[in-house]
């Protein structure tokens, strides 16, 4: 339960107050680094994936010339080498990164909006609304989203948009539960009571008071969620149900590279490394923000 309470009055790490000034300054630097390090890396990745191809020409991520097949990393013109049909790996990493970020943000955004609204509604009004919404969220949690993802991929054909829909089945109930719990906890607080007593209507209370207060918690949770969504997109592509060939996605690159792991391990290692670094940064950033905003 305590995990769900946003403690706005948290003084930060109480151990800090006991330290001497220089140690406190060092701790301050360390804390800043924990926040800006991962944030910087993420900005760099976003800039690279979305910006670089538009500014500086890179080889095509698809339709590579077969004359350049299977080149190892650090070959001239192909810094990460090429895959067995001649596509440049570096370029595929960049474009695959675009897909990963798009899916990650898309799924999380849908989760935040839909799940957040549902959760807040359930938590604020309680009663019948709460029961219905909670049961609905329960069904979504118990429902194997993989089956849905497979069905969508098979029925409608694999595509990025379908992947986002399928993965939202995961994100909506997760955010919904957090939002509901946080709203429930907030509802009993005095200032909410005061707002309601003063006649402010339901939705206004939610917009003016609930949202700003649960936002930090939802935000930090969502950062973790982006990482999870990116990994899940990779899983779907790994199973062949995500981004269709020959478009690049880190997951499908890993799946394809896996088939020749003994012969060319770098085809797996390179996208895995990028996947790991990106998700790691998202998690570290989430942690640092949680620390900064005093969210539990």
């Amino acid at each position: 339960m305590s995990a769900l309470l946003p403690d706005l009055l948290a003084p930060g790490d109480p151990a800090d107050a006991k330290r001497e000034p220089r140690a406190r300054a060092r701790a301050g630097w360390a804390r800043a680094l924990r926040l800006w390090g991962p944030a910087g890396f993420l900005v760099l990745m976003l800039a690279a994936c979305f910006g670089w191809p538009n500014i500086y020409p890179v080889p095509n991520p698809v339709r590579g010339s077969v004359l350049q097949a299977g080149l190892p990393p650090l070959s001239p013109g192909h810094i990460f080498g090429t895959d067995p049909v001649g596509n440049d790996v570096f370029s595929r990493i960049l474009y695959g990164g675009q897909i990963s970020f798009e899916v990650g943000f898309g799924v999380t955004a849908i989760g935040l909006v839909v799940g957040g609204l549902l959760g807040m509604a359930a938590g604020y009004w309680g009663g019948a609304a709460d029961t219905i919404i909670s049961r609905l969220l329960d069904v979504l949690i118990a429902f194997p989203a993989l089956v849905l993802a497979l069905a969508i991929a098979e029925g409608l054909g694999p595509s990025e948009v379908h992947v986002i829909w399928a993965l939202s089945v995961f994100s909506i109930p997760a955010v919904g539960r957090i939002a509901r719990g946080a709203t429930l906890a907030l509802r009993g607080q005095t200032f909410i009571l005061a707002a309601r007593l003063s006649g402010t209507r339901g939705w206004r209370v939610i917009v003016r008071h609930v949202i700003p207060n649960i936002a930090p918690q939802l935000m930090t949770f969502s950062l973790l969620g982006i990482g999870v969504a990116i990994i899940l997109e990779g899983a779907l592509s790994f199973l062949g149900l995500g981004i269709p060939l020959p478009e690049a996605s880190w997951g499908s690159m890993i799946a394809q590279g896996q088939q020749t792991l003994s012969a060319s391990p770098d085809l797996v290692l390179i996208p895995s490394a990028f996947l790991f670094a990106t998700v790691l940064s998202l998690n570290l950033l989430g942690d640092a923000l949680r620390e900064r905003w005093g969210v539990r």
């Binding site: 339960m1 194997p144 989203a145 089956v147 899983a235 797996v268 790691l280």
Partner: protein
């Protein structure tokens, strides 16, 4: 979360009456009903989704050379031409009588199929869960004894890695390092428990680690955060310390049990992601479990098998969440009364 210690107040005589009419029993009843409803909802949703897929099992079964007449004949035979509600009703009715139908692909009893494959998956998941929870709790306790100490920082780094790595990547790395390079574990295959317990554990270790390591990371982080928060903020901890209770006892006897709430909720929540995990990990290790046939069955439009698997996992998730809820309620009297009153 401050909870008073001490023996529960109350005479013995009124106990029976209190338990029967108690809010927790009524609450349990309501929860059970809700759980059944949710389980039904899951099966229904799955049926709908499977039906929306183009084509059907008869076409898949007979393959290419079949004439439309032959396909239609098989459809009639398999009752695939009947309307959606009739088929779903049939399945539901059979399910209530304990029969999950037969596989459309090979006529085998779904119960038999599940019977041979579920033990493999169940053992794998049990292994992964027990390992991840046990290690999670142990590492969290060790770390929170001295927050930001060496053990704590190390555990944070390891768990951060576990959170950020994809299970399928981890599986590939594990196979390469511990099966091919160092022949400690088999790269593929499964030996049943009855055939050879040693080999059985051996064949399930790498897959269990691939599934369990990310879980362990989540659990240990959450638990450690909870425990540290307890230790630093709660009044009763301060009281206990002031009374001179040794730090370990404070940690294990007071902070840990109260922090387990968050863990319980999270474990129950995580169970829903299991189906996806096994569908990916089992084929990589060639384990003959349900994950391995799930994707195949969806492609084959083998609705009874898919439903059977979904029912099982849905039931596991629902039951686990129910237990978690009840455990919650039973352990924290405040929640019990608050909920009963609302």
């Amino acid at each position: 979360m401050a909870v008073a210690e001490g023996p529960e107040p109350g005479a013995q005589t009124g106990r029976a009456r209190r338990v029967l009419g108690s809010p927790s029993l009524r609450l349990a009843g309501r929860r059970l009903l809700a759980a059944i409803l949710v389980l039904w909802g899951v099966t229904f949703l799955t049926y709908v989704v499977m039906n929306l897929l183009p084509g059907d099992a008869a076409q898949e079964l007979l393959g290419a050379n079949a004439t439309p007449a032959e396909v239609h004949q098989l459809e009639v035979q398999l009752h695939l031409n009947e309307p959606f509600w009739v088929r779903y009703g049939q399945w539901l009715g059979d399910a209530f009588h304990g029969s999950l139908g037969t596989s459309v692909v090979n006529g085998e009893n779904v119960t038999t199929i599940l019977g041979t494959r579920l033990p493999v998956t169940a053992e794998l998941l049990l292994y992964a869960f027990v390992g991840s929870i046990a290690f999670g709790v142990a590492v969290a306790v060790l770390g929170s004894r001295r927050p930001n100490g060496v053990a704590d920082r190390l555990s944070m780094i390891v768990s951060m890695t576990g959170l950020s790595i994809a299970p399928y990547v981890l599986a590939l790395v594990l196979i390469y390092l511990f099966a091919v390079r160092l022949p400690w574990f088999p790269a593929i295959g499964y030996t049943s428990l009855t055939a050879d317990p040693f080999q059985n554990i051996r064949s399930l270790t790498l897959p269990a680690v691939a599934i369990g390591f990310p879980l362990f990371s989540i659990y240990t982080r959450l638990l450690r955060a909870d425990i540290v928060e307890q230790m630093q903020r709660e009044d009763y901890i301060v009281t206990a310390r002031a009374k001179g209770v040794p730090p370990w006892r404070v940690l294990l006897r007071h902070a840990l049990p109260n922090s387990l709430f968050g863990l319980i909720t999270l474990v129950a929540l995580n169970l829903g992601t299991l189906v996806g995990a096994v569908a990916i990990i089992e084929p990589i290790f060639s384990l003959p479990g349900v994950g391995a046939i799930l994707i195949q069955s969806i492609n084959d439009h083998d609705v009874p098998v898919v439903e059977g698997i979904v029912v099982f996992f849905g039931a596991v998730v629902v039951v686990a969440n129910l237990l978690a809820d009840l455990l919650y309620t039973a352990l924290d009297p405040r929640i019990r009364y608050e909920r009963a009153a609302s």
